[in-house]
Symmetry: C2
Subunit: 232 residues, 2 copies
DNA sequence: AGAAGGACCAGTGGTCCGTA
DNA sequence: AGAAGGACCAGTGGTCCGTA
């Protein structure tokens, strides 16, 4: 394990960008001296050495991240759960890792990635951010997209789904619809919507979102054309 | 084999974009009725049925394209050779195939390529352009780049190398140097140079060109810094 | 049951090297 | 010898499904 991550965020100081270097996958070393922002967001106690409420956690075999729950904006998840602010923060962390990979590539005259690629995930892992992985990030990209494109709507959706006690899967499904609405208002070009947004442009457009936009456009076009043809 | 190619170029009429549908790989059918632009450029006689100067060509076993020779701008290659105007024309054909692939992708709501990818080469082959292949196009990309970026210099280089009787490989090697010069005048960002040029942006920057630019920049930077340090 | 992520797979960018 | 291109290979985008 290199310590690229420390270099990455060392100049942040008191900015709003949180530091990682939290939850180690291994339980070899402890550093509990006052949880930092990412730790506070993630509700992950490093190495679980305190054994506060569970017993069999002490053998240090838990590797997986705590599952996400639907939280309101600003709300910290309680229990062995992670909140949605933490989820969105992972996307910002990936963006920072990409920027580092880009800087290294430019400096050494290599091909420079414009997206969060396998190379970036590998780099994040090497830098100690073992809690970042490709399937997870791809799974929630469209949720992050809604958060970037229309934070008001995203926040409202979170509150409603929390209120109803819905699980993360339901909330995730519900994020598609407002995105399709946004696309419909912008000529259906979801690729353009992603590529012109400063934080979103580094993420591949999820297949399902693209399909939903296309299906909805086709369906509305068919409705329009049939109303022209038959309903004068 | 579909006939996408015919659709592709059917609306060209008398424009300067040449038609393909020339030199078939198989020798099953002949169509010799007045060579079109691509045929004239390529100096390829379809199926070689005339057997004009060689004997064993009649068995119809030649598959490979005629090799390139260094020609002046506007010059048609003689003998079983192809000229450089024809080479550059292949890049324009690839661009047209990419545009078709993009149109199909957009219409069916699929991911839309921005570069000449494997998919585009496959499409070109299916459309009957069997004379287009990836290794060849990648091999000469930087030559085409010079042609796009500084046609004067490119033309002058062709004349000099033809005059000297140099082979295609030598000419190809010689194309790197003026490109590095161009990069040096534009902040060494060869990726930016490619991506901001309308015809060039669809081609990947060749590895060797990127390496040469980086090496030359590093070497000049070292020279500058040592002159600062030691030569006051 | 709901969710996290290791690991697989088809098709990619890149180009070598057996071929003519 | 010089050159064209089939075919291979390491690493990609994408996501399934065995796991907890």
């Amino acid at each position: 394990n290199t310590n690229y991550a420390l270099d990455a965020f060392s100049q942040e100081g008191l900015s709003e960008e949180p530091v990682q270097q939290v939850h180690e996958g291994t339980c070899s070393k402890r550093k509990q001296r006052g949880k930092n922002v990412a730790a506070r967001l993630s509700n992950q106690t490093v190495c679980e050495v305190e054994s506060d409420d569970e017993e069999d956690e002490n053998v240090c075999e838990r590797q997986r991240e705590h599952p996400f729950i639907v939280t309101e904006p600003g709300e910290v998840a309680r229990g062995k759960k992670n909140g949605l602010d933490y989820l969105f923060n992972l996307y910002e962390q990936c963006r920072n890792f990409l920027i580092q990979v880009q800087n290294i590539a430019k400096a050494s005259g290599e091909k420079c990635p414009t997206k969060v690629t396998n190379q970036v995930f590998r780099y994040a892992k090497e830098a100690g951010a073992s809690y970042i992985n490709k399937p997870k990030m791809r799974h929630y990209v469209h949720c992050y997209a809604l958060h970037c494109l229309d934070e008001e709507t995203s926040n409202a959706l979170r509150r409603v789904y929390k209120e109803r006690g819905e699980n993360v899967g339901s909330w995730r499904q519900a994020c598609y619809k407002p995105l399709v609405s946004i696309a419909s208002r912008q000529g259906w070009d979801i690729d353009l919507i992603f590529s012109t947004h400063p934080r979103l442009s580094i993420w591949y457009v999820p297949t399902k979102l693209r399909q939903l936009c296309h299906a909805e456009r086709s369906s509305r076009a068919a409705a329009t054309s049939s109303s022209i043809n038959y309903c004068g």
